[in-house]
């Protein structure tokens, strides 16, 4: 048995910098300048920015810290430890849309594909002109922050050695679909193409927050409280003064909860994600008619194509190729994704021996996906047992965009030499074998219940607006209702983006933290 002698960035952390809620035995009561709720893209970035500005920072994370050395390529052991509700959450509406969210140190950056897109200009213009943000967040404001993050997290296009056949087929054949497919730009350092982005990079090549900004912050004096669930933000005289919560554990049924109070001398940054942030605000006594409303998403629809030759999705960047050529005109973006058999099975036609036999053909499968910039809006409410309930139904035009994208993907598969495409649309043949049959997809019903969507990019529900009448969070990133309570995740986005949101989230979080750290009035008010 070989022993991996590498030292990963999430190891050898300063003593006492990690307080593990799964093992603490007595109540916690500590004080810092700032408390950051969440350690994902937004929380990790905000913490690192505040630490660099010289403040003492506590990060409070609901999930555990699963270290690089512990990553398991098997899906269920990973999902139950690293995903909220073991990956079984769903958006509930006309149809049930599975939803994946990391609940772990690093948040979804540990389990996503680290795809980088700066906030598109047209989105910033829209926010400025139509959503009342004016000059609060401009391209000029964000660019230096994007540039700094890209440099720190080694952003570059997927290299040859990590591309893999699934991605290569997409890039090389995209011209046959009339568009330009490109390699993705990702936060990564020496990706070996392990194809395990969804269960944590075993080489710490993917620069998730768990191996970058969070450990970097700890090495500069921050502390992290893991497996601690924030019940509410404490608000005194209209100002956020800390967080109140308790320890949790992977198995809540057997966990003994220990009270945790972390005081904030200067402010609280809320970065719990689009789904959780509105309910944290509610539990903290924040009231606003827009709170929990205007939730938006990018529902994704994937199609497997089966080739004569092996594609071997398990090798290469999990997601490594894409196009945004249709983002404005058709409201969708195309991407590749590789899936392990545990996840792909649900998209494989049939049941019984037919299904199992098809599962064994996965080495010949490529999977290409459409992310829909959906117009639909949903809502977020508290659910049973402390869960979050998301109501969301896709609009007809969103399904129309998805159908168009599915037909395009199917055509591209056949142009690329695929023998079969599995549309996964109810009422259509489970397998189509020729270009002629693509018209069946083009004429599929515009009913979201006929399709198998999955949601991962989430926006809104505590949107930013100049006045309390129009939104929950002000242009200074602080809630209108309580000062010093800064919301920096994608819940503040007035709209969705049409591109992967991680970079926008990080750019805005860095901008917010930089402004707060540099604002003597805000600090003095504390």
């Amino acid at each position: 048995m070989s022993i991996d002698s590498r030292v990963f960035p999430d190891e050898q952390l300063p003593e006492g910098s990690v307080v593990d809620g799964e093992t603490v035995t007595s109540p916690i009561d500590e004080t810092f300048d700032f408390v950051v709720i969440g350690s994902g893209a937004a929380g990790g970035t905000a913490a690192w920015t505040l630490v660099q500005a010289g403040y003492s920072v506590a990060i409070v994370e609901e999930g555990p810290w699963v270290k690089t050395r512990e990553f398991d390529r098997r899906i269920f052991p990973s999902f139950k430890r690293m995903f909220r509700e073991a990956g079984t959450q769903a958006l509930m509406g006309n149809s049930i849309i599975p939803l994946l969210q990391g609940r772990v140190v690093g948040g979804s950056t540990l389990v996503n594909s680290a795809i980088v897109w700066r906030t598109p200009d047209d989105v910033l213009d829209d926010w400025s002109k139509n959503w009342g943000l004016g000059g609060a967040i401009t391209e000029r404001d964000l660019d230096p922050h994007f540039a700094a993050i890209e440099e720190e997290l080694k952003v570059h296009a997927v290299l040859d050695e990590a591309l893999g056949e699934n991605n290569r087929l997409f890039v090389d054949n995209s011209f046959k679909g009339g568009f330009v497919g490109t390699r993705m730009r990702r936060y990564e350092n020496a990706c070996k193409g392990a194809g395990q982005c969804l269960t944590g990079c075993p080489n710490a090549a993917k620069q998730g927050m768990n191996v970058s900004y969070v450990p970097w912050s700890l090495r500069k004096g921050a502390r992290i409280f893991t497996s601690v669930r924030v019940d509410r933000v404490a608000i005194k005289n209209g100002r956020a003064v800390g967080v109140v919560g308790s320890t949790t554990a992977t198995n809540p049924k057997h966990a003994k909860k220990i009270p945790v109070v972390v005081h904030a001398r200067r402010g609280v940054f809320l970065a719990a994600s689009t789904i959780q942030t509105p309910n944290v605000l509610r539990r903290s006594g924040i009231k606003n008619p827009h709170l929990g409303e205007h939730f938006m998403a990018h529902p994704g629809l994937g199609l497997p194509g089966i080739f004569g030759q092996k594609v071997d999705m398990h090798f290469g960047a999990t997601q490594g190729a894409e196009t945004i050529d249709f983002r404005k005109s058709e409201r969708f973006k195309l991407e590749t994704i590789s899936m392990q058999p545990e996840l792909a099975a649900v998209r494989i036609p049939g049941v019984g021996r037919e299904l199992v036999s098809r599962l064994t053909t996965l080495p010949h499968a490529a999977i290409w996906v459409a992310q829909i910039r959906a117009t639909a809006q949903g809502s977020i409410r508290p659910g049973f047992g402390g869960r979050d309930m998301v109501r969301y139904s896709m609009a007809k035009e969103d399904v129309a965009a998805a159908r168009k994208a599915a037909a395009l993907i199917a055509r591209l598969f056949f142009e690329s030499g695929a023998k079969e495409v599995w549309p996964g649309i109810h009422g259509l043949p489970e397998i189509i074998r020729s270009m002629d049959e693509v018209k069946l997809i083009e004429n599929a019903p515009l009913d979201s219940r006929h399709y198998s969507f999955i949601a991962s990019h989430l926006f809104g529900a505590a949107r930013m607006a100049a006045s309390e009448r129009d939104g929950v969070v002000g242009l200074d990133f602080s809630t209108h209702a309580a000062k010093g309570l800064y919301v920096v995740d994608s819940s503040i986005f007035p709209t969705n983006l049409g591109v992967n949101p991680q970079h926008s989230i990080m750019g805005l979080a860095r901008l917010a933290a930089t402004r707060v750290a540099a604002d003597p009035l805000a600090i003095a008010a504390a």
Binding site: N251, R353, P363
Partner: protein, 148 residues
């Protein structure tokens, strides 16, 4: 191997084995000699009960129960799934999974998705789907326009 899950009754487990064994059976012709019912299904059900929110696990349990008791309504045979032959069991699951009623077909979809976490992770299937690392040289015939 766990003989009987703690999270559900013996009768439910018998029905679960019949239903799930129909969705994910052995397929020796494809190199998969172990169906889900030959694996540690009981252990996985207990793992699910621990990992999922109670309401989600209740939903899975309910779907298993409804499918197990459905043959009378689906193929007109007054038996449970455990009392049917392989062909009839497959017909029941196929028909439910292809029902025009969304919530009905979602029962099979939910079971297929949840138990894929377990069956898809089986050693045989993993070995088939994760064959030796591909020859990298073969993977790089990129056109110049696509070079990084």
């Amino acid at each position: 191997m766990t003989d009987q899950p703690r999270a559900i009754t013996a009768l439910e487990y018998k029905w679960a084995r019949a239903t799930l064994g129909t969705i994910y059976p052995a397929a020796p012709e494809a190199g998969v000699t172990q169906g889900i019912a030959d694996m540690d299904l009981a252990g996985f059900i207990d793992e699910l009960a621990e990992a999922l929110p109670a309401i989600t696990f209740f939903g899975i349990r309910l779907f298993l129960l409804l499918v197990a008791l459905s043959p009378l309504f689906v193929i007109g045979k007054p038996r449970t799934m455990a009392g049917l032959g392989e062909k009839d069991r497959e017909a029941v699951v196929w028909k439910i999974g292809h029902s025009d009623i969304y919530l009905v077909r979602q029962m099979v979809m939910a079971l297929k998705a949840t138990f894929a976490f377990f069956f898809g992770g089986g050693a045989e299937l993993q070995a088939i789907c994760r064959s030796a690392e591909p020859d990298r040289a073969k993977l790089l015939p990129l056109g110049r326009k696509n070079a990084a």
